[in-house]
Amino acid sequence: MVLKGFRSGVTFWIVAVMLDGCGSPPNNPYPAAEALKNILYTSFEERPKHLDPARAYSANELEIIAQVYEPPLQYAYLQRPYQLEPLAALQLPTVTYLDHNGEVLADNALEATIAYSVYDIDLRQDLAYQPHPAFVQTGEAAYRFHDLSAKDLEGIERLQDFDAVASRPVTADDYLYQIKRLAHPEVHSPVAEMMADLIVGLRPLGERLALDFEARRKQGGWLDLRPYPLEGVEVLNEHHFKIKIKGKYPQFRFWLAMPFFAPMPFEADAFYAQPRLKAKNITLDWYPVGSGPFQLTENNPNRRMVLERNPHYHEELYPSAGEPSDQALGLLKDRGQRLPLMDQVIFVLEKETIPYWSKFLQGYYDASGLASDNFDQAIQFSGVGQAELTEDLLLKGIHLDTAVTASILYLGFNMQDPVVGGLDPGPTRLRQAISLAIDEEEFIAIFMNGRGVPAQGMLPPGIFGYLEGEAGMNPLVYDWVMGSPKRKPLLEAERLLKEAGYPHGIDPKTQQPLVLYLDTTMSGADDKPLLNWYRKQLAKIGLQLVLRTTDYNQFQQKMANGNAQLFRWGWNADYPDPENFFFLLYGENAKASKGGENAANYRNPEFDRWFLAMRSMDDDEKRLEIIQKMQAIVRHDAPWVFGVHPKSFSLRHAWYQNYKPNLMANNGLKYLRIDAALRAERRAEWNRPIYWPLALGLVLFIALLWPAFWAYRLRMRSPAR
């Protein structure tokens, strides 16, 4: 009896281990039956906040909904530089320019004369939605699940619990409906403001909706957007519509490749508007209804999300051409195959890094991002700075893909600040000196383990206007030495500092070292060395840095008020166009005064002039020239210390095929292929449980008890107890 409790503990173990002793390895976190299926396993760290195509904006949200919703355009998967190709549309939209009177202008009309641009979008005929209960009809315009009573909802906790589903073709009206939703007061689209300024009639619509919505707030229920007119969108027939935007804004085509412009069936909106469904967390924000290659069939944010093939997906074939090297890389093996290639994609919740990385090495995740810096030891750098995998990983057949992201991390100066701001020579020299002193190469080596390239200006590689080599170098910070940029010596920074009026960093007014303030957010213990590092960088030229750390909310508040002096921030491009970077320093976008994205509050009339000219130009020689001028201006004015363009590193197993890093497209899952047989084989090979410590522990325990037992016997026998 005494021992029984213990034994039960052990048997619990053994039974549990035995349960899965046969077939797949015991540590396989998935059901054994799934082993040979055409399923891709990947992970998510935090549940996506929004899956509503009008709301989703973060990378982790787009990762899901870009597979489900289908906007008119997409980025070509294999082509570089990035270019758009039709997706739901039959061809790229044609653009017509109109003047104030609505007269059609020539394509090469002067920008000043262009009042409106009209995008003409011709849709495919074979588009259809995924099966969904919202479409189930009981008659003409009568829907079975649109007015559910509490009784109907008994036993329904998830969307899968509905007993009937249906589908219908996608129409141009659905696209119109979605554009109207961007202005819906309850949807809170992050682009609502921007689109209201752009699309003709969207702002008045938004105001009207807000009024009507407020008026009927009490009664609740569905606000049908169909009767509301939207001047800027004209539906010509079921598969043809036009969008009218203000002015000339060629970048609008990129927005047409984002889920913001995917179709939304009014049935879904009506269906999800039922308060009883909301109370069960069955909302559009949770269960998307799309026409894309996949449908989200299970969404359990606590455990996993499952994308399954959409049976009604229109015909789309694997691209047959790409970059010249794609053939050799085996990226064209599937050319002409119907997409998607995978039956299921399972996203598993994984918050901690140890399990995540271990499962990847055990073969239970097919690919692993290297976004956070935990896994950098898997990587080594070869002579030319090329990243390579360590031998262990190479032996496992793991591949590494790297790409420089279309983003920039920078250290900004508040140009309204009396010390570091302003375009006068003094503060400008000070900013230049600081730009020189902060050794971004060291930053990359220590904090990013080489996963980044030092920024030479505002534009990351891969964006039009970025120049390679000496021509693209920031001549104020670097010298061109033996074929590569080399940071200028610190003496140069000290000279600049002297010219700025702070010899050796001493402020003549106080006779003390000049003190600067860096505003930043601190999220974890890892940030401390980082902040110390910044302090050290400025100390090199005799300046003192005081760190003011706050949480992100307070930080944003400070930025909005223009109270910061130095700050760290970053930008992730929305689309591959230089405009999406330069607008961050456009004077009219100043954060403090206009609430825009120009956090440095930089305003240089010359730069602003060039920006306006460059913004609406096509990618030609002239644009390139203007971009170089703008780069030269910001390099001289140094409103930012141009920091780093991070590189994304991703690892994938040998059975994970057709992957090519595409930083613009989010809908790449449909191209991927898994070799499930190879995967099962490797998993079995890599996961051989080691049981002998269990036996050893048992033997040790008994060995420990045995003498005690004897001692006890002895005691029992001795009379003097």
Binding site: I354, F375, Q380, F381, G383, I446, D526, L531
Partner: protein, 464 residues
């Protein structure tokens, strides 16, 4: 110029307070027997031998000087911009010998390989030598082991020497005190003395030798390796001691007046006073600790952000946060002691001598001070001792949930928190985690052992 941070002030107040209590209680006749029991316990005294160095480190780390001259690489000494503690100054070498990034304990090379440019311009793939760790070695592959060995021996002897220098006068005093030289020394040698001299001295010797070896090694190596930005892990671990001890003691002591006052009042006056006090602590007690702490910390951070102007330096900010954490932790943990005190007072007030004092017309504050307070002292002592280790452990957990000490404060919790990521590295970076583990265990284990003895000695229920 000495400088005090808020926690320093409170820490010293706490230490003086605890010390005063100790001295006071030693003078109390009814506590003499339990104290004797404690002093005669090998377990307690050996634990104390380990705890005292910890405490000394924490004290040394709480005395700060401003404007100390710090040697700078390549230049003359420069006045340090932030106040440095005595510990910082003592460990100047550890603090300043910062490598590029990770290196394993006692290694002379970086942990990871990287491209190294040879003098002749070729580039090879290898692990570069450390800037400081083992830089005195010319050919580390041949010399390192023997150098480590030699230094270990040297450290042993140095430690032993220091131990001798302390022990001999001590023993001389003991012998002089008792008179009978030979017998006393024989008793000590055989472990028969009432005070466990032999065990204490042996533990001291062991400790001195370990410290000796570590110090000898630390002079030229990174004994516990370096972290991501090349900072010495031994230095971090030592700095964390202050945080641990501070949270362990300050938390209980800061709310001690509250629980003493309320507990005794509730027990003594009963009636509505009792009802109100009971209501307050039951309510607080009913809220799950972590959640209450989380909520309070979130709110505290928000209010600190609002009054940002009050905190000029990062150090002050972190320090205020540490203090706030202690108070918040104290707020959640005072209820237990309060309840015990109430129950004990309930018992005491019915005892004859209290009743007699009442009848004789002794004023109530006087009864509380003279008759009740001294007799609940043992509960306070046990509570402080028992809470100490659980609070040190709690700090680590709270840091994991990001509601612990400031990320810039050195603490074991923060070390573990970062080490979680390091365990996912390939190859594994284990030394930060291992160091935090050892140093925590080194503090918590003796503290638990000591608390065990204290409880046995003072808890009347256990006197058999």
């Amino acid at each position: 110029m000495p400088q005090l941070l808020p926690t320093d002030v409170f820490f010293f107040l706490t230490l003086f307070g605890l010390f005063g209590l100790l001295v006071y209680s030693l003078g109390q006749t009814h506590l003499r027997r339990p104290w004797q029991k404690v002093f005669q316990s090998t377990q307690a005294m050996v634990s104390l031998v380990i705890l005292i160095p910890y405490l000394l480190v924490a004290v040394a780390d709480s005395i700060r000087l401003e404007g100390v001259l710090v040697p700078q690489a390549g230049e003359g000494p420069v006045a340090s911009s932030e106040p440095l503690s005595l510990l910082d100054l003592g460990l100047q070498r550890l603090r300043l010998s910062v490598e590029k990034t990770y290196s394993a304990p006692l290694q002379v090379e970086l942990h990871a390989r990287e491209m190294v440019r040879l003098p002749d311009g070729r580039e090879i793939w290898s692990t570069p030598r450390l800037r400081y760790g083992g830089s005195h070695l010319i050919d580390p592959f041949k010399e390192r082991t023997s150098d480590l060995f030699r230094r270990a021996i040297k450290g042993f002897f140095k430690g032993a020497l220091v131990w001798l220098m302390l022990t001999v006068p001590l023993l001389a005093m003991v012998v002089w005190w008792t008179g009978d030289k030979r017998r006393v020394l024989l008793d000590i040698a055989l472990g028969r003395s009432r005070f466990p001299w032999r065990a204490v001295l042996l533990a001291g010797l062991f400790l001195a030798m370990v410290v000796g070896v570590l110090a000898e090694w630390a002079a030229v190596y990174h004994v516990l390796g370096t972290d991501k930005v090349g900072a010495d892990v031994l230095y971090q671990s030592l700095k964390s001691i202050r945080t641990g001890i501070l949270i362990g003691t300050l938390t209980t002591v800061a709310t001690l007046p509250l629980s003493l006052l309320l507990g005794i009042l509730a027990g003594y006056f009963r009636g509505w006073v009792d009802d109100v006090i009971q209501y307050v602590y039951t309510t607080l007690n009913a809220i799950p600790g972590v959640l209450l702490i989380a909520a309070a910390m979130l709110v505290m951070q928000a209010s600190m952000a609002r009054h940002e102007a009050a905190f000029q330096s990062l150090a002050l900010r972190a320090d205020v946060r540490l203090l706030a954490l202690c108070l918040i932790l104290g707020l959640t943990s005072w209820t237990g002691l309060c309840r015990l005190l109430r129950a004990e007072t309930l018992k005491l007030r019915n005892l004859e001598y209290v009743q007699a004092a009442k009848v004789l017309g002794v004023s109530q504050p006087r009864i509380l001070l003279r008759h009740i307070l001294p007799n609940v002292f043992h509960l306070v002592l046990i509570a402080v001792a028992l809470d100490f280790s659980s609070l040190v452990l709690a700090e680590a957990v709270l840091s994991y949930v990001n509601i612990g000490v400031d990320p810039s404060t050195e603490s074991w919790g923060n070390m573990i928190n970062t080490a979680r990521l390091e365990m996912a590295r390939e190859p594994v970076v284990w030394w930060s985690l291992a160091s935090a583990f050892c140093f925590m265990l080194g503090l918590v284990l003796p503290a638990n052992l000591l608390a065990d003895v204290l409880r046995d000695a003072f808890d009347p229920r256990r006197v058999s």
